[in-house]
Amino acid sequence: MIFYEYEARKIVELAGIPVTKYGFCQTADEARKVAEEIGGPTVIKSQVLTGGRMKAGGVQFADTPDEAAKHAEDILKLEINGHMPVGVLVDPKAEVKQEYYASVVWDGTAKKPLMLFSDMGGIDIEQVAEEHPDHVGRGHISNLLPVGDYEAKQVIAATGVTGSQLNRATPILAKLARLFRDNDMILAEINPLAELTDGSFVALDAHMEMEEEAVGRQKQLLRQELGIAEEDTRDNYVPSEFEKNVKAIDAADHRGVIQGKDHGFDGNLGLVIGAGGGSLTLTDAVRNQGGKPANYSEIGGNPSVAKACGLAKEVLKKDGVEKIAVMMSIVSNTRVDIVARGVIKACLELGKDPADTIAIFRIPGAWEDEGNKILDYYGVEYCDRTVSLWDAAGRAVAKIQGAAA
């Protein structure tokens, strides 16, 4: 789950890291009020979940509260990369002496979180790492033991930072590492971390991302502290009609599991795949043999006939779909006869001939004999586990190409 800047700042603040006094506003009037309270030059920043804010004009500077209100009004109407802002952040314009960078990310190979620090903040860290590797300090932290300040200190010192700067930055990086772990983050970044002219350190901008799997146990932070509603998942993926319908069919009945995706697919061959990890392999196999998949759908568990039928129907109703291939992997324990009933019924209900519409049925599963009988009766071509996933896919492709010729 990704956070807006104003939320990320709040998270940082809750962890005891200093931030400037900022205000989140949803109207120009609110922005004026916050700017008055701040009582000096301000920055007005669009709150959107996308990069490139600065370039798009989503960050503006103001000298007076009126100016702040004017900018807020404009920014609130400004769409950035297809995203409308949820508000603006009004922040005092900081007197910055130097900008630093601090973050914690996962290192999958080491299986540990990694602290990163640079004395060249404000810019893209990827670029710094490439051009000035000696200006990026790195250090893993334990997943079990408490994070010691000294560990953070080593990382910072590696970039050549010393003296009071080192002493002031150390607790900030250590706290960032602790909050990363405590809050199940997959990214916790402060950029820039600013040293102000008075020598104090503040987080001027922050990016946070929480692992989806952990959202359920971070309710205290999400709901209480940040006030994020349960249904606000920040998932900016817009499901297609097909994906929505399949999801609704799946939710309506607890038996079995069906899944349907068609993002990026627009072919003529619908796929219903027996879950068990075969979907990636089969999709490749169809494409590499010249076929054009229309979707990517799985069926597993012990679905009802209605569920299997519902899925097959959604696949067949997609624009451009001519045939459907049903392919189960060897480990599938789903009842073949039930799936066969569902898919055949889908054909019949849509006024199509199952023998012609079902390109191939690769059968492994439970109740195979009963499945064979049904498929035989309707004249549907099927094969067993001795036919590889590649060949099953190839037969489906040949069928659809033969039909087109």
Partner: protein, 243 residues
């Protein structure tokens, strides 16, 4: 404990994600050395914590989000291959070690090796998550030490750096074992399939995430044969063993 024929030395963990870490630590603290975690959707921090604890106690974790492992006709931990009766059909003792990020495909591939008369020495469903207890490279020394094993087959998917790690291991260790790899999900390289990209900070840690194509290049550079079709695996293994 006394009701068991011998000492307990393995544990299969299937408890819900919220309780997995505690269950695993309990098992390890009580001397269990091999754990198979079947549970999925465990937050990374928990997985990494369990792995760190296991390392401190010389224990090994397989998974999470996996189906376990099988030594045909000797033992089976986890749901791999389905009920024992079905698993026996797909898995016959033989010379190939199998490691797979997909539980189901472990069996699909093993079944084809069995049908081709090669059989399987040990097959491990290693799990599909971002952080897992045992990666390909981390399991290689066990296969290397196993006399029965003459070749390795891996099934891999887009995402992560595990293949790169295996390629490095192979180059550094002068392994006696030929490796054949099958890469699924090549279609995900396509532009229209690109979904979310990862944050900048993440990419500087592990290098840019390999696309399927890049992974294949990397594997082949380490003399790991990458087959195009899943049904080419048995032949490729035979060729490599004969070499």
């Amino acid at each position: 404990m006394e009701n068991h024929g011998g000492p307990i030395d393995g544990s299969i963990v299937t408890v819900p994600p919220g309780f997995t870490k505690d269950a695993v630590i309990e098992a390890i603290a009580n001397g269990i050395k091999l754990l198979v975690i079947v549970t999925e959707r465990i937050p990374r921090g928990d997985v990494a914590g369990m792995v760190e604890f296991a390392d401190l106690h010389d224990a090994r974790i397989i998974g999470p989000n996996c189906l376990g492992l099988i030594v045909p006709e000797v033992c089976k931990m986890g749901g791999i291959g389905g009920p024992a009766k079905d698993a026996a059909k797909s898995y016959k003792p033989g010379v190939v070690g199998v490691m797979s990020r997909s539980g189901g495909m472990t069996t699909e591939i093993s079944s084809s090796l069995t049908a081709a008369g090669l059989g399987v020495s040990t097959a491990v469903s290693i799990g599909g998550d971002a952080i897992i207890g045992s990666t390909y490279a981390e399991l290689m020394p066990y296969f290397e030490a196993d006399e029965q094993t003459q070749a390795i087959v891996i099934y891999t998917e887009p995402g992560g750096r595990m293949e790169a790690q295996l390629a490095e291991w192979k180059q550094e260790n002068n392994s006696r074992l030929p490796i054949v790899a099958f890469m699924a999900g090549k279609f995900m390289d396509d532009d229209e399939m690109q979904g979310m990209s990862f944050g900048h900070a993440g990419t500087i840690v592990e290098g840019k995430e390999d696309s399927a194509k890049e992974k294949i290049v990397r594997l082949e550079a380490a003399d790991i044969k990458v087959v195009e079709r899943i049904d080419e695996i048995p032949e490729a293994v035979k060729e490599r063993i004969a070499k």
